[in-house]
């Protein structure tokens, strides 16, 4: 290479983008910064991120943001169209739809967050154990996974909720129980590719037991592809949760769950469209945001999959 | 040089990239007569891209420019796709590296050869079938009737490449570009495939551009050799003159080949110098790439 390196003070950006990082920390931060640059260049993904930040903000500060209580009924002012007083109109009990949407964001985030936490963890555990152990353990676990995959997801969730009784908690459980198999498959595939890697053998020679190998060496490597998958699945989880709510199997009245709100407005659809339209729009915007974010994350974390 | 089939002057292929333009081929010039011309270089030297540019196969956003790109005295630079299509296959053709990937896996061998022939010669299926059998015979496949009905995954690499040659030569092109035609094959069948190709090219009086990274092979097989480095031709030599190479890169390539008659303890590592990228072209690349 060139013989006379020009020495001049580096800007922080140059430090981050350096081809020859001096420390591991610099390399890692540099990689994150590179990823961020790729992500930031994707306008749609940024749009998704902004929407989701707004959503979280809305959920956190719901009581201060909502113009009215989500439960305050006003039978005199029921089924009012959108106006200056009620921006999104009122529902059949005269409750302010905007306030209910704002409070409902908490429920949506709770459901999505919990399912997106539980399902991948179940999947990660089953998939890595199956891939790492091999043999009959692998056979049995993958057979169970296949059975769950062969099930119609929504109907299985319906049957679960019906068996356990309708409530938010059971809806979350049912969704998680139907959502884990793809993660298990993914984690198993990743495990199979790294199981025979030299550094696993090296760790084994150093005396690492199977549990330690699994937790310290295999799980961390499966995480990034799982995160991408979760990000892409979030929208699907929202839609399924809303579907359960719509069927009356999720959050129970009077909780302002978005799917249930659409169900409430269904009867009035022809004359009072806003009652059903507004919560549906909210679901659409949020799941769109998750989809955009997921696409952007995939471009950063899994460039190979992004080409498809 | 006898009359030249192909004239290339200052051919350039560029691709836009995040760090600005990437120049895959940077001003390549040569003539091709009815001869076997070897193009040698390491991977990324632009040798394959040169072949594809001649065939008009550089897809956008890639860009091809040249002062001159003539086939039989007729410019073929950036022809409209429709006219280029008429030339491809019928006048210039190409054999690629690995028949496992370059043959369509779900079409029979016979259908693929017949398609190539009928596209340019027209005619009935029967005539095309006769021609395909004839071509398979020409590449020394013994049971052509049977091979016609097989699918690509059912034949070996060596046979696949002979099928590929049969297919590409069926419409009687004047120029064949062979892009690493033997690198994916088993060592034992390489010579055979090469000699079949050589015989056909010679009998038909075609021009052959033989792209390879194997200097030894090229020097034995070709009449002339172009040495490419970083998108440019650094040296042109008659194959018999190879030992007189002057460019340090060519010398480096030659000395890094093991020789039975003059064994050395340790083969020298190929040294590359930044200055070879530009040489007499004196292109100053501004800024960092």
């Amino acid at each position: 290479m060139s013989e006379s390196p020009i020495t001049r003070p580096q800007s922080r950006r140059e430090w981050l983008l350096s081809d020859a990082p001096q420390t591991r920390r610099q390399a890692r931060l540099g990689a994150i910064y590179q990823g961020w640059l790729t992500f930031r260049a994707n306008k749609l993904a940024m749009f998704g991120l902004i929407i989701l930040i707004l959503l979280i903000f809305m959920a956190v500060f719901a009581p201060w943001l909502a113009p009215q209580s989500p439960f305050a009924q006003n039978l005199a002012g029921r089924l009012q169209p959108p106006s200056a007083e009620h921006w999104l109109g009122t529902d059949a009990l005269g409750r302010d739809i905007l306030s209910r949407l704002i409070h409902g964001s908490r429920i949506t985030l709770f459901i999505v967050g919990t399912v997106a936490l539980i399902a991948p963890i179940i999947g990660l555990f089953i998939g890595t154990v199956a891939g790492f152990a091999g043999g009959w353990v692998d056979q049995v676990l993958m057979r169970i996974t296949d059975i769950f995959l062969a099930f119609p997801k929504l109907i299985l969730a319906l049957a679960f909720v019906a068996a356990l009784g309708p409530s938010i908690g059971n809806a979350v459980l049912a969704l998680a129980l139907t959502a884990w198999p793809p993660y298990a498959r993914l984690a198993r595939a990743e495990t199979l590719t790294i199981r025979h890697a030299d550094y696993i053998a090296a760790a084994r020679l150093q005396g690492a037991g199977p549990l330690r190998l699994l937790i310290r060496h295999i799980w961390p490597l499966c995480i990034s592809s799982l995160i991408v998958r979760v990000a892409l699945d979030m929208a699907g989880i929202i839609l399924s949760a809303a579907g359960l709510g719509f069927l009356g199997l999720g959050a129970q009245p009077p909780m302002p769950e978005w799917g249930a709100m659409i169900s409430d407005g269904r009867v009035y659809i022809l004359d009072h469209w806003w009652v059903a339209a507004m919560p549906g729009l909210a679901i659409f915007i949020v799941s769109l945001a998750f989809n955009l974010l997921g696409d952007g994350l995939r471009d950063v974390l899994d460039p190979k999959g992004a080409k498809e | 040089m006898t009359q030249s089939l192909l004239q290339v002057r200052n051919l350039r292929v560029t691709f836009p990239s995040r760090q600005g333009e990437f120049h895959a081929v940077r001003g390549v010039s040569f003539d091709l007569g009815r001869e076997r011309l070897g193009v040698v270089g390491e991977s990324g030297s632009g040798k394959s891209m040169t072949g594809r540019a001649i065939l008009g196969l550089v897809r956008p956003p890639g860009r091809v420019t040249a002062d001159r790109l003539e086939l039989d005295g007729e410019s073929i630079l950036n022809l409209p796709e429709r006219r280029m299509r008429k030339l491809r296959g019928s006048r210039i053709s190409m054999v690629m590296q690995d028949p496992k990937f370059s043959l369509n896996p779900v079409m029979t061998v016979g259908d693929q050869i017949m398609e190539a022939y009928r596209l340019h010669a027209g005619g009935s299926r029967d005539i095309a079938r006769q021609k395909a059998l004839e071509m398979l015979n020409a590449v020394q496949i013994r049971d052509p009737e049977r091979v016609m009905k097989t699918y690509p995954h059912e034949v070996s690499g060596g046979m696949g490449q002979r099928i590929m040659i049969a297919m590409m030569l069926a419409p009687d092109p004047q120029i064949l570009i062979a892009d690493e035609p033997t690198s994916a094959l088993d060592v034992s069948v390489r010579g055979e495939v090469l000699s079949i190709m050589d015989g056909l090219v010679r009998d038909r009086g075609m021009g052959l551009i033989f792209i390879s990274h194997d200097l030894n092979l090229v020097s034995k097989f070709c009449d002339r050799v172009l040495i490419m480095y970083a998108g440019r031709i650094v040296e042109t030599l008659a194959a018999s003159d190879l030992h007189n190479a002057r460019h340090p890169y060519t010398q480096g390539l030659l000395s890094s080949l093991p020789r039975l008659d003059a064994p050395v303890k340790r083969l020298p590592v190929l040294q590359r110098e930044e200055s070879w990228r530009d040489g007499e072209l004196q292109i100053k690349l501004s800024g960092k790439i």
């Binding site: 059975i147 062969a150 769109l288 | 059912e154 094959l185």
Partner: protein
């Protein structure tokens, strides 16, 4: 495999008879393996429905004998239903019952569940089939063109169509469609399968009204049924289109970067021939699986659609009986949908073998 490594110098040895027989045997064995694994999956499905049925907080005996039954009546029914037996025995009993088509009696309709399902299933099948037809006939060409002109206008449109499809709650879109096309524009029939005047007028043959009215030659009934089915079918079709076009595009991009495509171009083939004659043949094989999967998911996805459109199909049946705590009906419906899923998997697996020369 013929002639793997000899370079093909010698003549290809004609596949001898024992060779061919062995190949056929291998093929049969792999098909048998597939069937066996699907049978295992089916068994698992039944096990899960069985467990759900036992976990249910609803007392199945009470549902049968009613609240006013005496303890003796209750015990008699308890024994008659085999609930005093060990769970394993109960499961085998359930298994034999289900395999002979006996899902028990529905409490909400008073009919054997299998009869109910026979009645409602054709409605769902009709809807899902039309939806898949719409999804395939638009989704496949859309995906192919999007891949061929990557980054072009069609590609952008396909991207937006898919993105919206992945983000839209189906039941909400259905409601909005009903509002617009039925409530405001009046272009389509409203909820239900038929207008009142045509109800029960067409002789029942297949249970699919579009087909039955054609068989009967009753154009009025056909037009009426069509105006009712087109909106929910388009809705399902849209979601299937979003999925199919995305998958088609991604398969196509993969094929278009394959080397044999360059071969086609070197031959001088037109771009259209390269895409449709060469690449499309290759993607049609995995597409079969995608279409089968999408059809299966429409059978299931029709649950919400059927509710919106008051479509008297399996999805509505399952939901209604579910809310009524009618577990026999719910589990029967679940088993039927699950079996369809598994059957579609088997079908696409077999088609794969037929279509792909490499699998022979």
């Amino acid at each position: 495999m013929i002639d793997t490594n000899t370079g093909g110098q010698g003549p290809i040895p004609p596949a001898s008879a024992p060779d061919r027989r062995a190949a056929r045997k291998r093929r049969l064995r792999s098909i048998a393996g597939t069937v066996l694994s699907l049978a295992l999956t089916l068994l698992g499905l039944l096990l899960v429905t069985f467990i759900i049925g036992r976990v249910m907080p609803i007392d199945p005996v009470l549902k049968v004998v009613g609240d006013r039954a005496t303890q003796a009546q209750y015990d008699a029914a308890y024994q008659a239903m085999g609930l005093d037996q060990p769970l394993v025995v109960q499961f085998f009993r359930y298994l034999t019952e289900v395999l002979t088509g006996d899902f028990g009696r529905s409490i909400s309709t008073g009919q054997p569940v299998i009869e109910d399902i026979k009645r409602v299933f054709p409605a769902t099948l009709e809807l899902a089939t039309l939806g898949t037809l719409i999804g395939v006939s638009i989704g496949v060409p859309l995906g192919v063109i999007a891949a061929a002109r990557r980054g072009g206008i069609i590609d952008q449109v396909a991207r937006v169509v898919a993105l919206v499809g992945y983000s839209m709650p189906i039941f909400w879109l259905g409601l909005m469609g009903l509002l617009l096309f039925y409530g405001i524009l009046g272009w389509v029939g409203g909820p239900g399968r038929q207008g009142i005047i045509y109800d029960g007028m067409v002789p029942h043959v297949t249970g699919m009204i579009l087909v039955d009215s054609l068989i009967a030659g009753d154009w009025g009934a056909f037009r009426d049924a069509f105006s009712h089915i087109i909106l929910p079918a388009s809705l399902l079709g849209y979601f299937s289109l979003a999925y199919i076009s995305r998958m088609t595009r991604s398969f196509m991009l993969e094929q278009l970067s394959a080397e044999y495509i360059t071969t086609g171009r070197v031959k001088g083939l037109s771009e259209r021939a390269v895409i449709w004659r060469h690449a499309f043949r290759n993607i049609s094989i995995p597409l079969v699986t995608v279409i089968a999967l999408s059809f299966g998911s429409l059978l299931e996805g029709s649950v919400l659609t059927e509710i919106i459109f008051s479509w008297p199909g399996l999805g509505q049946y399952i939901t209604k009986t579910l809310l009524a705590g009618d577990m026999n009906a719910v589990l029967g419906g679940t088993v039927v949908v699950g079996t369809c899923f598994i059957g579609l998997n088997l079908l696409s697996d077999l088609l794969y073998r037929v279509l792909d020369p490499r699998s022979k």
